[in-house]
Structure formats: C-alpha cells, structure tokens
C-alpha cells in the first residue's frame, strides 16, 4: 500500500507546479493571437504604431513565454519522476498526444518565437507576419494536444486493459483525438487564454490612459483587446456550458459534486445558485435554486434526471463488487498467462477492474474486502464537494463579469469615449488578476474534481504514484517552492519594469 505522506506530497507538488505553469500558459495563448492580429493590421495599413504595439506587447510576451517553457518541462518530466506507475500503466495512450504535441506544435512555436524577436530586420513584413502567426498557431495546437491528453484522464476512451503487459493499451487513436471532452475542453481553455490576453492588454492600456501616457497607443491596444475579449468571453461561457454537457455525460460524479447535489432530483433538475455544502453530514444547507436550469445544462432535456451523489455511490458500489473477480482473475493470469478460465473472467469484468483497485487503499487483497471496506471505497469516489461547489461558482461568476466588462468597453468604444471613462478604466485595471483566478479555479474544478482517480474509472491516484523515498519528494517540493517563488518575483519585477517604461522606449535599459 502507498505511503499516504508520499502520496499527498506528490499530489501537492504536481498541483503546485501545474497551477504555476498555468499562470503563463493562458497569457501565451492569448497574447500570441493578439500579437498576430496587431501585426496583421500593421501589414495591411502600413501604420507603424501597429508595429510598435506588436513589439511592446511582444516584449512582455517574451518574458512570459520563457517562464511558460521553463515550467512546462517540469510537467512533462513529472509524470515519469513522480507518477511512474501511471506512466507505465497508461503511457501507451497518454504518451502519444504528448509526443505529437512536441513534434507538431511545440517545435513550431519555439522555433519561430526566436525569429519573432530576431527577425524584424531580416525578414520582409509579410514574412515576419507569417512567423508571428505560426507562433500563435503553434501555441494553440500545443494546447490542443495537451488537452487531448488531459481529456483522456477524464474520459478514457479508445483503450483496453492488456493483462499480458499489465497496462492499458491504445485501441483507437481516432477515439482519443475526437474524445468529446477534448473538443470542448480545448475550445474552452483557449478561449479562456484569449480572455486572459485581452484583460492583460486592456488593464495595462487602461493604466496608460489613466496616467495620460501613450494615449494613441493605449487606445488602439484597448480597442483590439475589448473586441477580441468580448468574442472570447462569450465563447468561454458558451463552450464552458458545452464542457458542462460533456461532463454531465461522462463524469456524473463531478457534476453532482459541483452542484453539491446529494440526491437525484426529478427531471428537470434545478441549479443551485447558493448553498452551504456539508460533506460530513452529506447534505447542503441554505439552498437557493433555479428550477430546470441544471437539467437543461447537463442533459439538454427536460425529462432526463441528473443523478445525485448517493445514487452514484450506489452505482459505484456495484461496479466495485463487479471488479473484484476481474482483480482476482488478473492475479491468476499474472502467475499463469495460460489460465484460460481466468482470462474469460477478466474479459467479462475488465471494465470494472479499476473500481476494484479503489479497494487497495483499504485492503491489500480486494477479494477479501468486507462490505464496510467496499462502502468506504465507494464513498471515496466523491470529490471534495465544498471546493468544487464554490470553485465552480466563482469561476462562472468571473466568466459573466468578463462578458460585462468587455461589453461595456465595447459600447463605450463605439461612442469613442473610452479614455474619458476613468471609472471604467480603473475597473479594467483592477481586473488584471481576475482571469488568472478564473483559470486556476477551472483547473481546480476539473482536476481536484477528478479525484480519487488519476484516470477516471481506470487507475486511482494513490496507485499511480512513484514508489520513491518520501524525503526525495520533500526536498524537491521545498526546492520547487523556493525556486518558483524567486522566479515569480523576477518575472513580475521585469514585467512591471517594462510596462512602466512604456512602448516608445522599451530599449532604454538594454542600451545601458
């Protein structure tokens, strides 16, 4: 059985490094496209202010990009270093999108990002514009393949367990790529990145306008940010709803936890706007509900029920019981691959094998599990209701706020009054951190909500961890915390410095 301290520390390290990495990713996604748009305007109109805009925002993009690259390597290494059993168990499927991401996307963005900075004097205008677009396309393709990999953890389609190699193996690459969860996650995540880029550009432009500096420059930047941001913010919420629909199909437990819905409601289910989840007593207090809404989001119907936590746990208990013969048969097969009877049993119960593995947390041989242990294992599939309930609501609230912010900005823009609106500019400036909060909460809901599974229904997290010395993980965790804090300070310091320098003189210090 896994050392619980090792498990918790490994999870903490993964969560910390992943959330840190995702401070940089959405800005890269959003800014790369904004840079490409600004430079397109420059090439089409020939007005140099648009090139200056591309260069100024490009400098900030460059600092952020380096941090994204640096912290991204940690993510790829970490599956092997800290989640070795996971890597062995699902590498046959999960490794494929990661490798293709490197080949198809990351090479593209990383190769051309150098030319973006160094190519201004060596390339024609059109060539440079193409380079900028390739960086943006590369970043977005990169997100696509990573999210295909991530979606497979939430909804492991196109794969089958092979007892002879003791792992999951790929059956259909098409099913993995066209996983419905991957499709909606991709669009939702890149749109969130675009919103982040747009809020970033808008907030800093607002600051320039409030200070009365670089007003021509800032007004144009704000115009691009507001228009792009409005479209993106609408897309995030609409496609986030698509995410909800696919989660409703494949991850019913996550939806039930997000809704803190302990019991199935008669269709169509209502959506709880406010409530106080009480996980200890398995109930939710002080509920305020909107009738019909959840049923519409999660099932796109008025007659299908959305199952509650108690009902889902009861289903899980059946699957655990059904998985135990598979586990026992697998043990026989590993000892004697020629055991045809065991192979037949495993084949007929293989879809529930992962559920039997949940018992390994409580008993070393699942075949000897008591009903109480099966009950505990079944209840262990309920993620942390309070975190999911509130994380989701704050994220959605912020999503609606972005639509309002950009819509109002767009309205003001059409009346050409944006720099005469100090209150709006103040609001825009102070909105700067909000897209990051929303994005991090989004990942919290998606990944914390996946627990206790590493791969939903296939491999529990506690079995996925590397069996290494706990002291190693303590040291690396402390190292990451210290190291990443220093990097964050340097990163923010440099960004602030270049923002203060402003667009017309980004080179002053470099000259010194």
């Amino acid at each position: 059985m896994t050392d619980p301290t090792l498990l918790e520390l490994s999870r903490l390290q993964f969560a910390m490094t992943a959330m840190y990495h995702f401070l940089f990713v959405p800005l890269t996604l959003g800014l790369s496209v904004l840079l490409a748009i600004m430079e397109s305007v420059f090439v089409m109109t020939g007005r140099t202010i648009w090139r200056d805009m591309t260069k100024f925002w490009g400098t900030l993009f460059g600092i952020n990009f380096a941090m994204g690259v640096a912290t991204g390597i940690t993510m790829e290494f970490q599956f092997g270093t800290n989640w070795a059993y996971y890597s062995h168990y699902v590498g046959d499927i999960f490794g494929v999108p990661l490798a293709i991401e490197g080949l198809m996307a990351f090479f593209l963005e990383a190769t051309f990002v150098g030319l973006f900075f160094f190519g201004w004097q060596r390339l024609s205008r059109l060539q440079h514009l193409i380079v900028t677009w390739l960086v943006a396309i590369g970043s977005n393709l990169s997100a696509l393949w990573i999210l295909i990999a991530n979606a497979w953890m939430q909804n492991p389609v196109g794969a089958k367990f092979n007892p002879d190699s003791m792992r999951m193996e790929l059956q259909s690459i098409g099913a993995v790529i066209f996983n419905p969860v991957a499709q909606s996650k991709f669009v939702h995540t890149v749109s969130a990145g675009y919103v982040t880029g747009a809020v970033f550009v808008l907030a800093i432009s607002a600051w320039f306008l409030l200070k009365g500096r670089h007003t021509e420059f800032a007004r144009r930047s704000a115009t691009v940010a507001v228009s792009f941001g409005l479209a993106s913010a609408l897309s995030v919420v609409v496609l986030g709803d698509e995410s909800g629909y696919t989660a409703g199909q494949d991850q019913k437990m996550k939806i039930a936890a997000i809704e803190s819905m302990w019991h199935t409601e008669p269709a169509p289910a209502s959506f709880m706007i406010f409530g106080l989840p009480d996980a200890a007593n398995r109930t939710t207090n002080a509920q305020i509900k909107v009738p019909w809404l959840l049923g519409l989001i999660a099932t796109r119907s008025l007659d299908k029920p959305v199952p509650g936590i108690f009902e889902l746990v009861a289903d899980t208990r059946i699957r655990i019981e059904n998985g135990i013969p598979a586990y026992t048969a697998l043990q026989s097969l590993r000892a004697d691959p020629g055991n045809a009877a065991a192979r037949t049993v495993l084949d007929s119960h293989v879809n529930d094998l992962g559920y039997a593995l949940l018992l390994r947390r409580y008993v070393s041989n699942p075949a000897q599990a008591t009903p109480a242990q099966i009950d505990r294992a079944a209840w262990s599939t309920v993620p942390s209701v309070g975190w999911l309930f509130w994380g989701f609501r704050i994220m959605v609230g912020l999503g609606l706020f972005f639509i309002g912010l950009f819509a109002y900005g767009f309205f003001e823009l059409t009346r050409r009054r944006i720099d005469a609106q100090p209150r709006f500019l103040m609001l825009a400036f102070w909105s700067l951190p909000t897209p990051w909060i929303a994005a991090e909460l989004g990942w919290l809901v998606a990944e914390y909500g996946r627990q206790p599974w590493a791969i939903v229904g296939v491999l529990p997290t506690f079995l996925a961890v590397s069996p290494i010395a706990t002291t190693n993980v303590v040291l690396s965790l402390c190292g990451f915390a210290l190291f990443y804090s220093v990097l964050a300070v340097i990163d923010v310091f440099l960004l602030v410095k270049y923002i203060r320098l402003g667009p017309t003189e980004p080179s002053r210090v470099v000259h010194a």
Partner: protein, 379 residues
Amino acid sequence: MLDFATLKVIWWLLLGVLLIGFAIMDGFDLGVVMLLPFLGRNDSERRIIINTVGPVWEGNQVWLILGGGAIFAAWPALYATSFSGFYPAMLLVLAALIIRPMGITVRSKMPEERWRSIWDWALFISGLVPALVFGVAMCNLLEGVPFSFDSEMRASYAFGLFHLLNPFALLSGLLSIAMLSTHGALYLAIKADEPVAGRARSVARSGALIWTAFYALAGIWLWRSGYGMIITGGAAPGGTPDPLTKSAALSAGAWLKNYQRWPTTMLLPALGLGAPLLVAAFSRIRHRYVAFALSSLGIVGVIGSVGVSLFPFLLPSSSYPASSLTIWDASSSHRTLGIMLIAVIVFLPIVLAYTSWVYYVIRGPVTAGQIQSNPDGNY
C-alpha cells in the same frame, strides 16, 4: 503495417535519433552557456555569446521535450523507471533547464553589473549540470542500476544519487562536458565575432583532445571492467511487452560482443574517437563548418556506441537482471508504435525544413554592432 519486432527496432533507432538530435542541437547551447563566463571577457562579448543562441535555443530545447515525450509514448516502462529511479538527478537537470531559459531571457534586461554577473554564472551551471548528469546517466546504463518489478510491474529501486556518482560514471560525465563544450565552442567559432570566435577555436582544439582522451579511457575502462548482460531466455522480439517474461544474466564483456557480431558498428566508436581528433585539426585550419559537422558526427559516435553496446538492453538491472528493460519487452503496443512512426515520418521532415530555414535567416556572425542596433530583439 510493419511487424512488431521491426517496429521495436525502428523505435530503438528513433530513440537514438532523438537523443543525438538533442545532443547536437541543444548540446551546443549547453556548451555555449558553459563557456560564457570564460570566453566573454566583458559585457559586450558576453552578450554576443548569448545572442549566438538567442534566436534558436527555444527550438533546440524542444528536442529534449520531444525526446521525453517520445520515450513516454514509445518506451513507457523505460520512461517510468528511469525518470523515477534517477529522481534526484532528474530534478537537478530540471532545475538547470528552468534556469537556462530564465537566464537567457532576463540577464540583459537589467543594467546592473552584479545582476548580469550572477546570471552569467547561473547560466554556466545550467549548462554544466545537464551535461554532467546526462554523461553520468549514460555510464550508469552500462553498469546497470539496481531495480526490480513485482508482478504488477510496480518498480522498487535500491539506489540514490551517490550510487550514481561512481568513478566510471564521473569519467563519463567529464567526457560529456568536454564533448559539449567543444561542440559549443565550434558553434561560437561560426556564430560569434572576433575575438570571441578566436578564443572559441582554441578552446575547441583542447576540448576535442580531452574528449578523445576521455572517450578512449572510458572505452578501456568498459573493456577491463567486463560489464555486460545477456538475455538467457523467454524474450520473443515480436512478443507482448512484459519484462518479467524473460530471463537474463550478467555476462562479463557482453557489452563488446555486438561489435563482433556486426563489425560495421565499429564505425561508431571509431567516430567517437576519430572525429574529435579531426576537429582539432580542422579548427586549426579554420574550416569552421567542417569542424562543426565533425563534432556532430563525433556525438553520433559516442551516443551511438553506448546504444550498440547495450543492444538489445535499454536499462539493465544489476540486482535483478530479469527485471531489465530491453527493446523487446519495454515498448508500447504494436498499434502505438505504428501510429507514432507515422507521426514522425510526417512531422520530423517539416520540423527539419523550417528549422533549417530559421538558421538560414539568422546566418552570419553576431557582432557588437548588431546588438546595439536591434536592442528590442536581442538578449
């Protein structure tokens, strides 16, 4: 589709291609930053040095990321066991790989001398540590590392960082440092303006000789030590990958047997030994591109010879030889190897094409004048 055994061999070759691609492309970046504090005697020279890799280091680093991803996809058991087994070493490499992008990006963005000096030395370490660790890891493969699997393929390890740092492995680490410094110096000889280029040429000459000497020494050590392992039964090349179905045993001198079996493979150690000698000669007569190509061939020889020696082993277990990972039992499924091969055939030529175009666009040496005239773009 190709049969399973053939695909495993192709993916073994591709593993070599990716590791060699990393060592050649990112290797000169590592070499350049290792030499930074020594070849750049003032701020302007140091900025020239950093800017020789400025437009390309991000792309080069992807060779490592792709290497990691490809090992994950094609050799999941190898990825799982080596990355977790070498945990402290991998974390050191990771720290270095995070410092390097940061250092290159932020170093010249502040005017203070102290700031720049700290980053110069940080960059030096960020080149030295991966070079050392990758060299140390290579030789540990030849020595074998103590690990085993239970029937569920759950690994246990009986080694720590200090087990890895034994004399043979340290020699290999120094070889790796000499090799990549030479390679980086040859890149600087092409891409940097004088006087940095001149200094780089002389470093490359001495570095190449040290490289030859260390490689020869490591070869003798390997021969005298009698490291080696053989498969004694059960591993069908076309079989379902499961390391536990085979048996294997230590066998003195087995790592040199492949050269007798396939004499043409002797070309690889010959390149590892001979190419750096020619590098020393050619960099004297200023054939800079020839010298760089030769050092790339030398890298092919050094890494290739480790691969051929180990074949068909990937990660031998010194404590439980039967748990060793070989190319027949550590690969992905037939289908995954096939799909990944198609992806490589489609995308790798495209990658090589646009990478070449980028090098063409930024051709010519980096001069102090260029850095002054393009302050926005340069590091």
